[in-house]
């Protein structure tokens, strides 16, 4: 049986531990106790380490990664920086530590950010600190700079560690799926990873799709994006940022998990779990995405609306794999918007989400696609509201009427009472009209 090999803090390591051991547990058992377990569900960031590949640095939650997924990758843990590293010094000298338990994770998130840049709040969205109030952390980050170091690149190859399979081609993946119909299909593991980290399971067979060549990357076409099912959200976000047609999705996708989650989590996984609050799903519905699936019987293309069947149920057959998602661009002149309501702005699961693609003929709505998350057993279009808007100008009155036409009976839980969800969903339709009518005004409380 092959051994898992990783590069840790610049040194090659051969690992004999079971492939479904979490990276965090393994690091700590090796005596590298800088990364801490704060929650074991990928929400607190105390276990943050960084995956390096060439010049790229992406933070991950070591509690949600398992060793098998990490095969062949280069990982930097806090011990790989050392006490003289400028990022470490900046936080220590800036009064940015109190109890210090979250600090190594914050060091690693900040270290990744000195390379990747962007909004410092986005870089910290996956790291909770209960002591400082963050101000000194942000101040310390403002003075940090990139240390210029690079790591080896990553080249995927197919591997197998006991029952943990890492196919590198679609053909292999489909064959494994046929051979092990009960195997866990694992991509980034930001949802399924809880079975390892929290429930301490070691499933007999796992097919990890992260390295499948045909499922990689986001390709930009004339009329659509093709999002590989194993492409992490981080890549989708970058593709949207670089493409004006999809740019309105950027603020929404930046609220999907945290940088740590977006390093590993995939759109394919969101479709696979088919949760009613999967944040990618309303977007896919509003733009009329098509899901490409593969099985020994051949390829199949399923419109996303037909793919989502119900609460955590999808149309994937037991021998099928999601290969990619084809996401059409909004037509020129259309209004594309995505809104999310959650208790906290960052790193939170939606109470209600709305993705809208509204097309116009002159001032009049010619076609509207409105898709909500959190309002039903699955993400779902609001066809009655779409009908109300069609043929009208998109103003506050029309939005109110569209809201009154919503026919959802949403769930009632800790993320929001049913009545709140319905009222807030109506509010989001009015916000859509406000965005359209008054692009000069801020539409939300968020900067």
């Amino acid at each position: 049986m092959a051994s898992i090999e990783i590069t840790l803090n610049g040194a090659r390591r051969t690992i004999e531990a079971p492939p479904t051991t979490t990276l965090l547990d393994w690091l700590r058992a090796e005596g590298l106790t800088g990364a801490k377990e704060g929650c074991a569900e990928g929400d607190c960031g105390a276990c943050t380490v960084v995956i390096e590949a060439g010049a790229s640095r992406r933070p991950v939650n070591a509690c949600l990664c398992v060793l098998g997924q990490m095969h062949g990758r280069a990982i930097r843990a806090v011990e790989g920086l050392g006490r003289d590293h400028p990022v470490v010094r900046a936080l220590a000298e800036g009064g940015a530590t109190q109890c210090g338990f979250c600090t190594p994770g914050i060091v690693m998130a900040a270290w990744a950010w000195t390379r990747s840049g962007g909004d410092p709040h986005a870089a910290l969205a996956g790291n909770l600190c209960r002591c400082t109030g963050y101000r000194p952390i942000l101040d310390a980050m403002a003075a940090m700079s990139d240390d210029g170091e690079t790591a080896p690149g990553f080249a995927a190859a197919s591997s197998q560690f006991g029952g943990f399979h890492l196919p590198a081609t679609l053909e292999e993946a489909v064959a494994l799926r046929a051979a092990f119909p009960d195997a866990m299909l694992l991509a980034g593991g930001t949802d399924l990873g809880l079975r390892f980290s929290e429930h301490r399971e070691h499933p007999a067979e796992v097919i990890c799709l992260l390295n499948v060549r045909e499922m990689q990357g986001v390709t930009v076409g004339e009329a659509c994006q093709r999002i590989g099912a194993a492409a992490p959200y981080a890549e989708w976000l970058e593709a949207c940022r670089a493409d004006a047609r999809f740019a309105p999705l950027v603020p929404y996708l930046e609220r999907l998990g945290s940088r740590q989650i977006r390093t590993l989590g995939t759109v394919g996984g969101n479709l696979g779990t088919a949760s009613p609050i999967g944040d990618a799903l309303p977007v896919l519905l509003a733009l009329g995405a098509v899901v490409e699936c593969a099985s020994p019987r051949g390829a199949r293309r399923v419109p996303v609306e037909e793919f989502l069947l119900g609460y955590r149920r999808n149309a994937l057959a037991s021998d099928e794999i999601i290969v990619a998602i084809e996401l059409p661009a909004p037509p020129p002149g259309a209004l594309l918007a995505a809104e999310k309501l959650s208790r906290r702005h960052d790193q939170d699961i939606s109470a209600v989400s709305l993705a809208a693609c509204v097309e116009f003929a002159g001032e009049t709505v010619s076609r509207a696609r409105l898709a909500f998350g959190g309002m039903a057993a699955t993400a779902m279009r609001a066809r009655e509201a779409e009908a109300v808007l069609t043929g009208r100008s998109l103003d506050d009155d029309a939005a109110r009427e569209a809201g009154a036409a919503l026919r959802f009976a949403p769930m009632d839980d800790h993320r929001g009472a049913a009545a709140y969800r319905l009222e807030a969903a109506r509010g989001l339709l009015r916000r859509l009209a406000l965005r359209h009518a008054r692009p000069d005004l801020p539409a939300t409380v968020h900067a």
Binding site: E41, L91, G100, R130, L441, V445
Partner: protein
């Protein structure tokens, strides 16, 4: 009073090790050979009779019958069980301890445990418990004057009712203990605790051993906030019990879910009040009830009720009043200490009263604040209204209050759906444990013959910077650099019979005790030095690492003197002890001076609210906190900012949610949302009040800082009252509550 080290903005002693990952928390310590791991089987229901427990094979299960001592973990009273015997009283209550050679095996066994419980109807609200008169802490009343007559005579009468929610501590390091059995019933317990002595007592009680056989140690906690007072004790007792039964060292590290299910939280409160005002907005009479949800057992609810009661009027007063506070028994997890300890809940009362009155009488709430400031509390302790006025005025000046208000008004006139709001808050927070005898501390100082110093005291380091502050005090006494002071882990073997590090008193109490110990050693050293330097001991100065006689004569290095003392067979080690003077309380009359002093703070906050969704964001906050002559302004600033953000979380985003059967559904950070970096106002300007000095007898004239600034977050709620136009808000002010408040306006 010139000081060389005290008062300087030194950084946290462990800052570099925190950031490099070298700082060792309990779970980072190497495990002794043969360490086993424990996990807890928890009740899946809120209330019921335990008929049995089906457990998986292959692990050692520890049940109440295995307890050699008492099944009692009560921190103050008696009869709070470690493991449920027949009655299950809350969802998440520990039923059994599962022990296995690996943590995975223990956790899987705990998850596989199947209790057989005959369910009983749970009591899930304060209202329901009040109706049946089910009290954990019976009503305590502070009264003055004839409140009925004063209410009847008042030109304006108002009544109000509102609620404030609880709060999960969410220390990043969950509860953890490692118990290592020794000879003859000895047990060494490493515990992440704010109260090593209580851990010692509870472990000894559960094991049936005298206290001397149990030693408890703690170098640092990954956050405490009150959550590792009584709750750390039972976690440690469970580990020690498992170690006793199996003979192995046993580590118990609660998973986050188990931690959030089984450990207590901040007390939620229900408030009902009647108030009478005159035309000018002067409060003439107040009749108020504050009822806390204590959960299923007493824990420290008595102290929480006391502090809520003594802070219910905050810095305000009324000529006639009756304030009643109590804690009721419900089928929730037993609520416990949380930063502020009932004080923040108490201070919410007058904000509701004043904002309602301002709206009804057509006054500005700011004028009502100033009109109702008091110069003494309803229980007879002197307040300093001039200081309240000063912190409030300075916070408003910092925030440019008038400009903020004008900007909010013009923004609100322009924007169709977003609303800005501005609010203020000021408070007086009493410093001392409410129970007078807890106000004591011990310390132990050694000087070694190279002149290095080792400091031990009874306080615990949980991130608040206590160790560096107390080290500064000791370094100051010896005239040595702070690096010369080595910091010992807190241990019951070195400092016995301590109080919890709590009630903001850590540096006041332990700083004084360490000062006394250091002075005792220094006095002995000074006698030796005086003989050699031919001067009087009193004329010697200890500074810059030297001992200097008067008149510019050459002295000696501190290390030289230490060695000389040893040669002359003079002890270089001393204990120090401190008890807070002047505090007293008459429980019969409900009068007294329970606090050593008050600390004052004020805040101004500005929010932006979306009336379509109820979402809001705090845009700016200006805070001014009185720390007297701060022992360490950098540490204190960190406490102020951190407490404010934690308070914002309590009052706005953090919501504990139980389903209709009383099962807690917010058991992790995915469902329970503490503030993230973006939630911190982009403009957050906190500062210490300048030129302030605490009363005589305060440590270097400093004031405590741990809890009081948490209350300043109330300014955010007040800004939301302004933005919504709704003077009374249910808390936490989540988007859901704010949207409902706007709709029902």
């Amino acid at each position: 009073m010139n000081t060389a080290i005290v008062g300087h903005a030194l950084r946290h002693d462990s800052a570099l090790r925190h950031a490099s990952g070298e700082a060792r928390f309990l779970d980072d310590l190497p495990e002794p050979a043969g360490t086993w791991h424990a996990a807890l089987a928890l009740s899946p229901v809120a209330h019921g009779r335990l008929r049995g427990l089906d457990l998986p094979e292959g692990v050692r299960a520890i049940l109440p019958a295995d307890i050699p001592g008492q099944n009692d973990i009560a921190p103050i009273g008696h009869g709070e069980v470690l493991l449920a015997e027949t009655l299950v009283e809350h969802h998440g209550q520990p039923l059994a301890i599962l022990v296995a050679p690996t943590r995975d095996a223990a956790l899987r066994a705990a998850a596989a445990a199947r209790p057989r419980i005959e369910t009983l109807p749970p009591v899930l609200s304060i209202e329901a418990a009040l109706e049946t008169g089910s009290f954990l802490v019976p009503p305590q009343i502070i009264a003055e004057g004839d409140v009925e007559a004063a209410l009847a005579a008042a030109p304006h009468r108002l009544t109000g009712e509102f609620r404030a929610g609880g709060q999960e501590h969410f220390y990043l390091e969950g509860q953890i203990a490692l118990a290592i059995p020794g000879e003859e019933g000895e047990m060494l317990v490493h515990s992440s605790t704010q109260h090593p002595t209580e851990v010692q007592h509870v472990v000894a009680r559960v094991l049936g051993e005298p206290y001397h056989r149990v030693t408890v140690q703690c170098r640092r906690l990954g956050g405490g906030f009150g959550g590792k007072e009584s709750n750390a004790s039972w976690v440690a007792a469970a580990a020690a019990l498992a170690a006793r039964v199996t003979g192995h060292p046993v580590k118990l590290r609660l998973s986050r879910r188990a931690d959030m299910a089984a450990t207590g939280k901040r007390h939620p409160f229900l408030y009902r009040w009647q108030a009478g005002f005159d035309e000018e907005g002067r409060l003439l009479a107040l009749d108020a009830t504050l009822a806390a949800d204590g959960g299923h057992s007493l824990d420290m609810s008595g102290g929480v009720v006391f502090r809520a009661l003594t802070h219910a009027l905050n810095c305000y007063g009324a000529p006639a009043l009756r304030v009643l506070a109590c804690a009721v028994k419900t089928n929730h997890v037993s609520n416990t200490a949380f930063r502020g300890f009932g004080g923040p809940q108490g201070a919410l009362l007058m904000e509701d009263v004043l904002h309602r009155a301002a709206a009804q009488l057509g006054h500005d709430v700011e004028s009502l604040r100033l009109r109702n400031l008091a110069d003494r509390t309803p229980y007879g302790q002197r307040l300093e209204p001039a200081l309240t006025r000063r912190v409030l005025a300075e916070a408003k000046a910092d925030a440019e209050w008038d400009r903020l208000r004008a900007e909010a008004a013009s923004f609100n006139a322009e924007h169709p759906t977003l609303r800005k709001g501005v609010g203020s808050f000021c408070c007086a927070f009493g410093i001392a444990f409410g129970i007078p005898h807890l106000n004591q501390a011990g310390a132990l100082v050694h000087v070694y013959t190279d002149g290095s110093i080792r400091l031990a005291h009874g306080g615990t380091e949980m991130g608040q910077g206590l160790f560096i502050k107390v080290a500064q005090v000791v370094a100051e006494v010896f005239g040595m650099p702070v690096e010369a002071v080595g910091l010992a882990p807190t241990s019951t073997a070195e400092i016995p019979n301590t109080s919890a590090t709590a009630a903001s008193t850590g540096s006041d109490l332990n700083g004084w005790a360490a000062h006394a110990a250091a002075m005792a050693v220094r006095d002995r050293m000074a006698e030796v030095a005086a003989r050699h330097l031919r001067c009087t001991p009193e004329s010697l100065r200890f500074e810059d690492g030297h001992v200097l006689p008067p008149g510019g004569n050459e002295g000696m290095r501190f290390g030289e003197l230490a060695k000389l003392c040893w040669r002359e067979r003079v002890s270089l080690s001393a204990t120090g002890f401190y008890r807070t003077p002047d505090i007293h309380w008459d429980a019969g009359r409900m009068r007294g001076e329970p606090f050593f002093y008050f600390t004052y703070g004020a805040a101004v906050a500005e929010v932006l609210l979306d009336t379509l969704t109820g979402e809001h964001r705090c845009l700016s906050a200006h805070l001014v906190q009185d720390c007297g002559r701060s022992l360490n302004p950098a540490i204190d600033l960190g406490q102020i900012e951190g407490a404010f953000v934690q308070g914002m979380g309590w009052l706005t985003s953090e919501e504990l949610w139980w389903d209709g059967d009383g099962r807690q559904r917010t058991l992790g950070p995915s469902t329970y949302k503490i503030p993230g970096s973006r939630d911190v106002p982009p403009v957050l300007r906190a500062r210490l009040l300048e030129g302030s000095e605490a009363r005589a007898g305060a440590l270097f004239r400093s004031k405590a800082v741990g809890e009081p600034p948490l209350l300043l977050a109330t300014a955010v709620v007040n800004a939301l009252r302004d933005a919504t136009g709704v003077p009374s808000l249910g808390l936490p002010a989540t988007a859901e509550r704010l949207l409902a408040a706007i709709r029902n306006r």
